[in-house]
């Protein structure tokens, strides 16, 4: 018998379900399967289920009468379930401009990694990144699949302000800042697409289990896309992903 998943209470209104401490697509598939099961079970609006790399959190809006009996209910769901595969996976193509105006750290990465700038860009756009979950900031995607050759430590001193849309790398992760914020990642480009729109339903089109692939655009194309986005005329390229 595996020790996982571990089902723990998190205070009076959270139940945490922990799986093996690893980051893998196989585990993500399992998490999303169970997440779906839980969402089908908890139809009340006052319960929310989120996933991260290896955890699910069921959170209740208010503290509930007896969290321990609730844990038993959850355990039962887990005992009964069979694992399926990730459904309705989509791949989203995101434009990134690697122009020197945006690529603040491309030079530095190039020196540190002994790679040409073109090679860095090539290595960055090649993978089909997996979306593990959204967290940290509204619309911030945790992406897995960065090429090992691009793994680089974060800045010792975080920048006070990173631009909205900045595309960065740090350790084994890459991502896009959905709004301007302080941050410690090495910046190599900018993506004009809005990853979070509070006026859309849902506010994020890309979700856990989906794939992301970057493609390069010139500064001129970047500006054209930005203009289209602000007029609401930009169509994000996406298709079904068949593994």
């Amino acid at each position: 018998m595996s020790d996982f998943p571990k089902i723990k209470t998190m205070g009076e209104r959270g139940i945490l379900i922990e799986f093996e401490p690893e980051i893998s697509e196989k585990l993500l598939g399992k998490l999303l399967f169970y997440k779906n099961k839980l969402e089908e079970f908890y139809t009340e609006v006052n319960v929310e289920v989120i996933n991260t790399y290896n955890s699910l959190l069921i959170s209740y809006m208010f503290s509930i009468e007896n969290i321990y009996s609730e844990v038993l209910v959850v355990k039962e769901l887990f005992d009964k379930a069979n694992i399926g595969k990730i459904n309705n996976q989509q791949i989203f193509y995101l434009p990134v401009c690697y122009d020197e105006d945006f690529a603040w750290d491309l030079e530095l990465i190039s020196k540190e990694k002994n790679l040409l700038k073109e090679e860095i860009i090539e290595l960055h756009i090649r993978p089909f990144y997996t979306v593990y979950f959204t967290g940290f900031l509204p619309g911030f995607l945790y992406l897995g699949g960065l090429d090992k050759k691009l793994q680089i430590s974060r800045k010792n001193q975080p920048r006070m302000k990173i631009e909205k849309g900045a595309v960065g790398i740090g350790e084994n992760q890459t991502g896009i800042y959905p709004k301007s914020s302080p941050g410690g990642w090495q910046i190599l480009g900018n993506c004009p697409v809005r990853l979070f729109d509070k006026n859309s339903d849902p506010p994020c089109e890309i979700s856990a289990g989906d794939k992301v692939k970057f493609y390069t655009v010139s500064k001129t194309e970047f500006e054209e896309i930005s203009a289209k986005i602000s007029e609401g005329k930009f169509q994000l390229k996406k298709e079904n992903y068949e593994g």
Partner: protein
């Protein structure tokens, strides 16, 4: 004409809040909502509002506000020496307001955050099912001079049928914080588990709606975790030994070990603490 509260002076830091934003954590959107739910409920109950009607959360130094139309208000939580025009008013009572009246605040006496409820609740924009202000989600993130906060005027005489509402202010001054073991509590060596329960921790000046850092450090050798879920009330321990208590506007995920989780009631208690005040953890299992 719309009934509005006009902001004459903004005070230190005030925001519109309700119970918060539910169902959007999966997009990375914080829960937000009032820091002190007891005070929100009390103030709304006094006015016979819906329990989650939007209120103004006022931190320490209150604003100066002017009402365009008649209404009723109630203030609960911290006592920040409120005045209607030139008269002192009490917390936890129905206060009648006439058109043109001004509400101001003075010295903070007890607690840190006061809650101003208004008949029917503030009618500011609702974004993602909540009126709680949060940067990037709502148009405003804190009260500024010249803001107008809409409400529904209460026309004519309202019958004085308000139930007397019991408000027990003792939580405003207690220093016992009830906690449960967090997901990584068991990774702590016994010595640190004991220290967590035996130390009087002070509230550092790094305290806001996102998080509150404690002044005393806990030297530790815990490994970071794979980024995982956090909630308001999660206590994180950083490699540098800082204890960070996440509050209502916290991020949805984090990578520091989560050593404790506060009880819901304790979040209300902490919401009323000021820099320099002391608290201790009482562990329940």
């Amino acid at each position: 004409m719309k009934a509005e509260v006009e902001v004459l002076k903004p005070g230190l830091f005030s925001t519109i809040q309700d119970f918060g934003r539910r169902g959007f954590q999966k997009y990375g959107v914080p829960l937000s909502g009032v820091m002190d739910r007891i005070a929100l409920k009390t103030a709304n109950l006094i006015l016979q509002n819906q329990a989650d009607a939007a209120v103004l959360e006022i931190t320490q130094m209150g604003p100066k506000l002017k009402f365009t139309d008649p209404t009723k208000i109630a203030i609960s939580g911290a006592y920040l020496s409120p005045k209607l025009n030139d008269s002192e008013i009490e917390n936890n009572e129905v206060i009648k307001v006439e058109a043109g009246d001004t509400l101001s605040f003075g010295r903070p006496v007890i607690g840190s955050r006061a809650y101003l409820a208004i008949s029917g609740g503030f009618q500011t924009e609702k974004i993602l099912e909540s009126r709680s202000w949060y940067e990037g989600i709502t148009a405003f993130e804190k009260l500024e001079k010249g803001h107008h906060l809409p409400y529904t005027a209460v026309s004519g005489e309202v019958k004085e049928t308000y139930a007397s509402v019991k408000f027990d202010p003792s939580y405003l001054e207690t220093s016992e914080i009830k906690v449960f073991p967090g997901p990584e509590f068991d990774r702590l060596p016994q010595e640190l588990k004991t220290k967590l329960q035996k130390t009087n921790f002070s509230i550092s000046k790094n305290n806001n709606r996102m998080a509150l850092q404690l002044g005393e450090k806990l030297e530790n050798e815990l490994e970071p975790i794979i980024t995982g879920p956090v909630l308001p009330g999660t206590v994180q321990l950083t490699p540098g030994g800082n204890l960070i208590i996440l509050m209502r506007d916290c991020q949805t995920t984090g990578g520091y070990p989560r050593v404790l989780q506060l009880s819901e009631h304790s979040l209300n208690i902490l919401a009323q603490k000021k820099t320099g005040e002391e608290v201790y953890f009482k562990l329940s299992s």
